[in-house]
Assembly symmetry: C2
Homo-oligomer: 320 residues x 2
Amino acid sequence: MISREPSDLLVAAREGSRTALARLLTYVESGGAHHRDTVTLAYGAPAPYVVGLTGPPGSGKSTLTDRLITLALERGRVDDAESFDQIAVLCVDPSSPFTGGAILGDRIRMQDHATNEHVFIRSMATRGHLGGLSLAVPEALRVLGAVLFPVVLVETVGVGQMEVEIASEADTTVVVTNPGWGDSMQANKAGLLEVADIFVINKADRPGVRETRRDLEQMLDLGAARSWRPLIVETSAANNDGTEALFEAIDAHRHFLGRENLFAARRRRTQGELDKVVATMLRSRVIDLARGSAYEREIEAVLEGRTDPYMAAERLLLEP
Amino acid sequence: MISREPSDLLVAAREGSRTALARLLTYVESGGAHHRDTVTLAYGAPAPYVVGLTGPPGSGKSTLTDRLITLALERGRVDDAESFDQIAVLCVDPSSPFTGGAILGDRIRMQDHATNEHVFIRSMATRGHLGGLSLAVPEALRVLGAVLFPVVLVETVGVGQMEVEIASEADTTVVVTNPGWGDSMQANKAGLLEVADIFVINKADRPGVRETRRDLEQMLDLGAARSWRPLIVETSAANNDGTEALFEAIDAHRHFLGRENLFAARRRRTQGELDKVVATMLRSRVIDLARGSAYEREIEAVLEGRTDPYMAAERLLLEP
């Protein structure tokens, strides 16, 4: 029987146990007793290189992911220095509390990889963890890094605020569009422009590619100047056209980041994570306070005129 | 020249200085250096008996308030035990950041009382105090209590969530309606039902009184059972009809509350206030944290794998 201890599970997962890895990911996903130990272990290890893919449902993200996995593993075989010999894929659907629908379909499509021992595919859902997906995803990425996956692909369905926030946990963020993409992206255009390092026009065998590219270029011209101008790549994943170009674009961005830019970006994201953890802890502290006997004592003291709400609050917040 | 110290101001205000009282109220309204001392002094004194009046603009609240002031002062003269010899009125318009419009008009209408030394009338606005009106109003009520006003009338304009929240800071809450009131109240019916101790159908000389009373009774029948069933009083404040009946209804509710129910209600409100103060303090603590050097140190530690965001957050929150 497999241990439930995060440290034992980490050893087993590093030796290749997918059951152990799955259990660690459940700990960060669901919270609970082993959550904190898992996080401590995960943050003690180097972070993996993370590629985020997001785009509206039906834009072909999963087929692209599929192709990228194949390319990464091929590259891993020929060029050991890149160490792309293992790859993990995290599929996140923030709009759904359970794993199902599109993502389940995607997993089935990816299943020739699923039996490949170099590939690990996992769908993620929120299950009552206080910080929600916005904390569970970065924690899962650190777990995968600790289990020594050098690269993780995060796929999110949708282009809303939350999806974009998750995709931007990545070092390289790919936004997948289609010819005539306008309508599906309009609502969060500014958000997408801010996070995208690469735009993919997938299904580029369909009409409207030129207009879509022109729209994107115009948007980029109007947007704030960045040291990296997002690349635009045309693909037809279903026909395996342009997927190598996408792979090269991702690689180009990885080289652009280098040590310095990568560190700056990770610093910014770490700050975001810390803010979320602080906010989450404060929220649960208020809930705990409101249930405690110290809280009742302070209310009595205010009612009896022995103190005021500010002194009472200060005393409560000093309690460990 | 008048002192700026809250303790000096309190002494002066108790001796009748309206300037001193106004300054104390500005301290609770605007926050700032003297805010905390003012609150500490105010909560050390007994709370006044508070009557809240709320209703849509134009329902005639101010004319009713006017009549109630007159009745209370008359009562104070004949029945000293009730000690209604002084009365304070707080006019609050949460929808307006400044004092003006309807409330200014109301003040002018009330001005025969304004020169009466037994009456104190004050309009309140939010001016950047962190907790906003939802903290400033209860604090102002305590200040008025500390200055030995036995009774305070709080008038709020509107029937939205915020107005109802403020009105329900009162021991006795009066909701002012008019014949054919439905439309203006529909949106927050449940909220009004929950807080009202007395419904007034003002302008009862107009058609539709019977239907409005029937609607109210039906709502009360359908609502959750309470030990006090809200009274319904018909008035025509402009003609001074029914205002004595309203005064009696308020008095009946005050007697119903007695010591025990009054304490229970005040306990519940004190709890609400403490929760707001705790939340306000936590919010400003997060803002302070994000500016501090300890915060920067913790981010570095997470980035270098020496700690994880949870340990970092805990250390930050333990700092004084």
